[in-house]
């Protein structure tokens, strides 16, 4: 009796910590994105609240909480209400098996599932449901177009994304995230030629997966106003924001874990290494976003099916050949 209760309590504590981390991380990333974009554009960005506007995201979140929550007439209520949760909850669930490293010998991973990668692949695909439900439920043509684009895009880019992950799994010989990190103790995967290709594919497909420029066609501001979340206001809109930035963190964390050696690194504590790698990749994605124009929808699909998928298949075959040799 004691042990299940204890496990439950521990899991609750872990859950609270993870949720707290997600909220803080998303808020930090929003502020960070505004500062990064500002400095790319030779300006300062938020300056008035806290040190260099550090409390800007706090103000934004409180304000969004206070905003009126408009439900337009004519929405499909069920999907309208559920969509923001579908956009956030799967991303949060991914955190179960992301290895943050260890502090004083305690492994900072909620549960090291032995099918970790499979679990993550399954969950990240659910996010598209949220976007599609938002697009369908809003009863707005822009939202519908955004949702349709998103569905097509994420389904297409899932394939190269998964193939790139499989390459890493083949090299590590395990589906468990911790094992994959341990397999890179000697040399990070990214330093092997065909893993470097897999890494590049992963970053490209990952950028598309989280709908960031140049693949941000589902929300394409200059075409679809705000895409699938055009009709959302207040906290529901904030949920989409939270989902987007957490998703970005997850993709970067996965890339760091699968290809950049996860939390392993010299001198600094593992947690710090993990965060440096992850936020570094996030910053890279921001840099791309504020530099490149957007691709067109047919170019996007063509790139996925004609370039990215064949290349990742070829890469997989080569990786298999290297392993068999």
């Amino acid at each position: 009796m004691i042990i299940p209760v204890l496990t439950l309590i521990i899991m609750l504590i872990v859950g609270a910590v993870v949720l707290g981390f997600i909220a803080v991380s998303a808020m930090f990333l929003i502020w960070w994105e505004r500062k990064v974009s500002a400095h790319i554009q030779t300006r300062y960005g938020p300056m008035r609240v806290g040190w260099h506007g550090a409390l800007q995201s706090v103000a934004d979140v409180i304000k969004l909480l206070l905003k009126e929550n408009i439900t337009p007439s004519g929405v499909d209520r069920l999907s309208w209400w559920l969509a923001p949760f579908f956009a956030v909850v799967p991303v949060v669930m991914v955190f179960v098996c992301i290895p943050f490293g260890n502090i004083f010998g305690i492994e900072l991973i909620a549960r090291d599932l032995n099918i970790g990668i499979l679990y993550i692949m399954a969950l990240t695909s659910i996010c598209v449901l949220g976007i599609f439900m938002a697009g369908w439920g809003s009863n707005n043509k822009y939202s519908l177009l955004g949702g349709m684009r998103s569905a097509a895009q994420i389904v297409s880019y899932e394939i190269p994304l998964v193939l790139a992950m499989v390459t890493a799994v083949m090299f590590a010989g395990s589906l468990s995230m911790q094992k994959i990190v341990e397999a890179q103790k000697g040399l990070w995967f990214v330093f092997q030629p065909n893993m470097a290709i897999a890494f590049a594919i992963f970053i490209i497909a990952g950028t598309a997966e989280v709908n960031r420029t140049p693949f941000d066609i589902p929300e394409a501001e200059s075409e679809l106003v705000a895409g699938f979340h055009t009709e959302y206001s207040g906290m529901k809109f904030a949920m989409f924001f939270l989902g987007e930035y957490t998703n970005m963190f997850v993709i970067s964390a996965l890339a760091a874990t699968l290809f950049l050696g996860g939390w392993s690194g010299p001198f600094l504590p593992p947690v710090i290494w993990f965060l440096i790698k992850t936020y570094g990749l996030v910053t890279f994605m921001m840099w791309i976003r504020w530099t490149l124009p957007r691709v067109r929808v047919d170019q996007l699909m063509g790139f996925a099916w004609k370039v990215l998928t064949p290349v990742s298949f070829a890469n997989l075959i080569v990786a298999g050949w290297i392993l068999m040799k």
Partner: protein, 171 residues
């Protein structure tokens, strides 16, 4: 006070210790958050829109005040900067946009045209004489044709001041 007198047993109700403090601080936090995160609607009508973009651009940088997130959808913004001449044909659209914005919402009338019709006020058959003539309440009026970016920033600061001085947090 007046409300409390009307409640017969008001004297019997024990006050929550420190409640006043908690209420005022929370209110001021709410007001602070509203004031420092004014997201404008991407909405340029005429000439003033160029100065509005100029205010958002590198040199003046409206984002320093937390007001740089120009949202294209009226559902997600807090302040409508009416930048330019409002014409009869545009009037209905403006009213609809204002109605689509969620509360609490604010309006800045930027430029003489949005204030009163400006130089297009007379001898014209198609210009609405200011935002208020449409029935949209205006919080801050910024004169100028067009106002300089500094003026718009000053208008934003005035609006922040106004929000901080609000009697009660609007819903």
């Amino acid at each position: 006070m007046a409300v409390i007198e009307r409640i017969p047993a008001s004297g019997l109700i024990e006050k929550f210790p420190g409640g006043n403090l908690a209420l005022t601080t929370s209110e001021s936090v709410l007001k602070w958050s509203k004031a420092s995160s004014l997201w404008p609607l991407t909405f340029g009508l005429a000439c003033c829109a160029i100065e509005m973009i100029g205010t958002g651009a590198s040199r003046f940088d409206i984002d320093r005040f937390g007001a740089g997130v120009f949202r294209a959808s009226p559902r997600q913004c807090d302040v409508m900067i009416v930048a330019g001449t409002i014409c009869v044909k545009m009037g209905d659209c403006m009213k609809r946009l204002y109605a689509q914005m969620p509360e609490p919402k604010y309006v800045i009338a930027m430029g003489n045209c949005a204030v009163s019709g400006g130089i297009f006020c007379r001898d014209t058959y198609s210009v609405v004489k200011g935002t208020e003539a449409l029935g949209i309440p205006v919080d801050v009026l910024i004169p100028g044709c067009p106002p300089r970016p500094e003026n718009l920033l000053f208008g934003i600061m005035k609006l922040q001041e106004k929000i901080r001085k609000e009697k009660r947090v609007k819903r």
